[in-house]
């Protein structure tokens, strides 16, 4: 079963339209909920008058801060009020800190009435000074957003390795850059939607799309002040996530309304509401300085990373932790000095998004590497091979990587399968010819990357699975209970494949129970490229025990297994020393672009992606992940420009926030799938879903540099930015 491109178990229902997504589900007697959001970036709400909304015929209830039993939530730090406004006993919850704060919730007989009623709510604001630039927010005189975070600093990580002075003194060349990365919107197909109701056992139940049913359940019961068993979360089909459904959107208010009213309550966000009111990928500013000897060995790397968390933490302290580790790339460097800050501002909150801090770190690291290659007159593949992490290499945090370090093989495979040839003991680039049209310039770029699989830095990591073997003389049915979210990546198909393999039955005998806190135990989130790795180990453990029971004649044979990977540790506060992760994925990409130097358009002609997946449990899904990640990363690098003006998003529509369509995707994507087993992975599998995203942006900037001679240290490289920068260098139109 492992290694087969089995047809997805959800394919038929999805392509025929029979499978319901959260917005498709209705219950008799349901009411409609609409959220009213803040009209200010930073203000104290001194009064809120809901009387006109309540008087509107068809309005059933209006909830404000005073109605939320425990008015706080947050995935890592509970720093955000469920509803902002007066009347709550939670300190600071009368303040809005961003335009996406909720200030009231209306429940009405119809969606239209609810939409009309939210506009009738009169909110009185007393403006507070606001801060929108992440570095300005760190100044002593900046407005403070949260009492317990002086200078708005959520986290400050340090890495101190070796002796910087000694490092710089060995350096023959030094390269520097200030790198700026932009927001990115998840733009999943299905905007937020859900339905809250009281189930047959009296539990407040929320049907919604998410990434971790048990975490949603925890956020809800905490805010409602209920015992865990009183709250149930169910996911139907989920229309994409990419990290954007890790944090709460409609979950708590739906549960609150359903609980208070004891009636079903439904809501569906528009695309505009979705873009305006869920978190984004962090914009980061990265100052980086690297030195190398003339034979290409990096001897010193220094970086300062600042990430704009927006008004609430979400997962910012975790995201910045990743960037701190990845901003010096997958290289063994003896002397390293990194400071990384996550900072509160009055902008939209930022959080998880495919790559989780990795892409920003890689953008700076790989650009630095490519600049070093240029400064040294050395091939970019060659210089990487002199520095990449190898088996036994020490990370910047002073500890070795887990066994199975395959970045050298990945880099070489990518080079060989793209534009490089090995000869005379070194790597050489073979450039394709330039087009005849002088306005069009082609170039080749290379970048590589690594990222953790699974939760990092001491965060509790585990995954539960239950296997039930039913039958008499032989196993007739296998029930696997595994909560892991299938956000569209195909996790559930892989659960079935792995269960069939572990038990030794055909996939037709396997039935999956999932996506329901009432029927499963926690499996952690579908994030951090971890679900195949974690669930596979749990399923394998449960299957082994169940098969033993089956041999012992138990009918049915039922076993539950909790997989716990080796423990990780947090950064040492002064040196950063730690065992950050228990598993990694490795990736490299070569890109060919064509730049129209007059219009600033960048066309990605070809991407070659070499990704070590350990073992491809479902090869078709692997290439699907690679192609999807590349298109999404291409959007990040070139097209997707979310514009925020004093905390207010200016382009909350897919007509103005442009994502790649079929007209924009690369002409060719070549997936080079390596299967170099991870000793800890189930059947050797590694996580892979984020990897192909990570090096693409710096590979594109390298290719654009190859084409034009100009370094772009800021993304997205929208046409007007490209034209402006090229003109500064006397290229294109003058």
């Amino acid at each position: 079963m492992i290694g087969q491109s089995m047809t997805r178990i959800d394919a038929l229902g999805k392509v025929t339209g029979e499978t319901p997504y959260p917005g498709d589900i209705n219950l008799e007697g349901q009411l409609w909920l609409k959220m009213r959001f803040s009209d200010r970036a930073h203000a104290r709400i001194t009064a809120i008058d809901t009387s006109q909304a309540e008087a509107l015929p068809g309005v059933v209830a209006v909830f404000t801060a005073k109605d939320v039993p425990v008015n706080e939530y947050g995935l890592v730090i509970k720093d955000q009020p469920v509803i902002c406004g007066p009347g709550s006993d939670m300190p600071g919850s009368d303040i809005v800190r961003t335009y996406m704060d909720c200030v009231a919730v209306v429940v009405a007989e119809t969606d239209a009435i609810a939409a009309k009623a939210v506009k009738l709510i009169d909110v009185t604001y007393e403006d507070l000074p606001a801060v929108f630039d992440m570095e300005a927010a760190m100044e002593d005189d900046a407005p403070q957003l949260h009492a317990d975070s002086p200078n708005n600093i959520i986290c400050h990580y340090r890495i101190r390795k070796g002796d910087m002075e000694a490092g710089w003194s060995q350096a023959d060349v030094v390269v520097e850059g200030v790198y700026e990365t932009g927001y990115q919107e998840h733009a999943y197909l299905q905007p937020e939607a859900g339905l809250g109701y009281i189930d047959e056992e009296g539990r407040v139940t929320v049907i919604v799309g998410g990434q971790w049913v048990h975490e949603d359940q925890e956020q809800i019961y905490h805010a409602l002040g209920l015992p865990p068993e009183q709250v149930r979360v169910i996911y139907p089909a989920i229309g994409g996530a990419f990290g954007g459904r890790e944090d709460m959107s409609v979950q708590i208010v739906l549960a609150l309304a359903a609980w208070k009213l004891q009636r079903p309550v439904k809501t569906i966000w528009s695309r505009e509401e979705s873009i305006l009111h869920h978190h984004k990928r962090h914009p980061m500013r990265i100052y980086s300085k690297w030195g190398a000897t003339k034979d290409g060995k990096i001897v010193a790397a220094e970086a300062k990373v600042i990430g704009d968390a927006g008004a609430y933490n979400y997962t910012s302290n975790k995201v910045l932790g990743n960037t701190n580790l990845m901003v010096t790339g997958p290289y063994e460097i003896d002397n390293v000095h990194v400071d990384t800050y996550g900072v509160y501002t009055n902008n939209i909150p930022c959080g998880a998004f495919r790559g989780f801090g990795g892409p920003q770190g890689a953008f700076a690291a790989e650009a630095q590497m490519n600049k070093l290659a240029e400064a040294l007159g050395m091939d970019p593949v060659e210089v990487r091979m002199k520095n990449v992490l190898r088996e036994g290499s020490l990370l910047t945090v002073g500890t070795p990587l887990p066994k199975g370090v395959t970045i050298p093989q990945v880099v070489e495979a990518c080079a060989e399968e793209s534009y490089w040839r090995r000869g005379d003991g070194a790597w050489h680039l073979n450039r394709p010819p330039q087009p005849d049209n002088p306005a069009l310039r082609r170039g080749i770029g290379f970048a590589c990357g690594f990222k953790n699989v699974g939760f990092s830095f001491g965060f509790p990591e585990q995954n539960w699975a239950t296997i039930e073997l039913h039958g008499g003389a032989e196993i007739e049915e296998v029930i696997v209970r595994q909560a892991g979210a299938d956000v569209g990546q195909g996790a559930h198909t892989v659960f079935v494949q792995m269960t069939a393999e572990a038990v030794g039955v055909p996939v037709e005998k396997v039935r999956l129970l999932t996506h329901d806190t009432a029927k499963t135990q926690t499996s952690g989130s579908s994030s951090a490229s971890r679900m195949t790795f974690m669930s596979g180990n749990a399923i394998r453990g449960a299957a082994q025990q169940a098969l033993q029971l089956w041999q012992d004649e138990e009918r049915p044979a039922i076993a539950t297994y909790q997989y716990k990977p080796p423990k990780t540790t947090p950064y040492h506060p002064e040196t950063g020393e730690s065992e950050p992760n228990f598993a990694y994925g490795y990736v490299a990409e070569a890109v060919e672009v064509e730049v129209d130097i007059e219009t600033g358009h960048i066309h990605v002609i070809k991407v070659v992606c070499a990704n070590d997946v350990g073992v491809a449990i479902n090869p078709q899904q692997i290439t699907g992940q690679i192609e999807g990640a590349i298109v999404q990363a291409q959007g990040y690098a070139i097209m997707e420009h979310l514009i925020s003006n004093e905390g207010k998003i200016q382009n909350p529509f897919l007509s103005t926030y442009l994502i790649p369509t079929v007209l924009d995707v690369p002409t060719e994507v070549k997936s080079v799938v390596l299967e170099l087993a991870d000793p800890r992975g189930p059947w050797g599998a590694r996580g892979m879903a984020e990897m192909p995203f990570i090096p693409l942006a710096p590979a594109i900037t390298a290719a654009v540099h190859d084409a034009t001679g100009v370094w772009f240290d800021e993304i997205p490289m929208t046409p007007d930015r490209v034209v402006t920068k090229l003109r500064e260098h006397g290229i294109g139109i003058l």
């Binding site: 505009e272 007059e598 103005t656 442009l658 007007d720 034209v723």
Partner: protein, 286 residues
Amino acid sequence: MSMRPANFDYQRPTSLSEAIQLLANNDEAKALAGGHSLIPAMNQRLSTPEQLVDIGRLDELKGISTNNGTLSIGALSTHAQIAASSDVRTHCAALATATGLVGDPQVRNWGTLGGNLAHADPASDPPTVVLAAGGTLHLQGPNGTRSVSADNFFIDLFTTDLQPGELITRIEIPSLQGKKNAYVKLAHPASRYAIVGVCVVLEMNGNECVSARVAVGGATPKATRSPSAEERLTGSSLQVAAVDAAAEALVNDIAGDVMGDLFAPEDYRRAMAGVYLKRAVQAAMA
């Protein structure tokens, strides 16, 4: 955002004169042809006419023909019909190109040239071509018929010389057969509207350009000619320096009028107007 229009009355006259009468009788009435500008505006409540006068089935406003080489295009001709017309391809290839680049197939199959010109959307393609080609618009209203050159027809953003109750009946374009002409555009990736569109019409005598007409749209509030660019091209052999000079002249001519948005700020559009002039000349001479 509302996605339904306000209430309105609907009339479908059977003759042009009846249509004009209906429009003349009601200041709050609007003519409906293909509906691909009006209906979206109504759905967003940007336009709330009391009455729609559906002229879409009036045969008097249909058909494409030539008369002594002059193209005559009925106002109700759809973009798709114009793009596919061999007469248009022969006599005004740039218009065939431009109408073929409007919106998407659904828009091209419903949207009409007359409706498009009357709407005068600055980001639209056909006005730029009709202007560069030296077209004439034939109008009919309660006070009879008249004709207006494209040079005088487009007044400002969504504003034309059309008077209350007047309709465009047909558009005449002198044959450009023998002249080099082309329309090129930089389209917004989502809407496909022109960020910049440029049309050139070049009369060549051997290697020498003896007359030139240049119009730009998209970047400016209305389709706009560039006399300075025309001057630079006229008398030249379209060598690189002359075309570069024309591009610079075009940019200077429109400099104060350029509009910008989040995707394509003013500076970018201004620069692109020059680039697309060069590309239009290249396309015309190809």
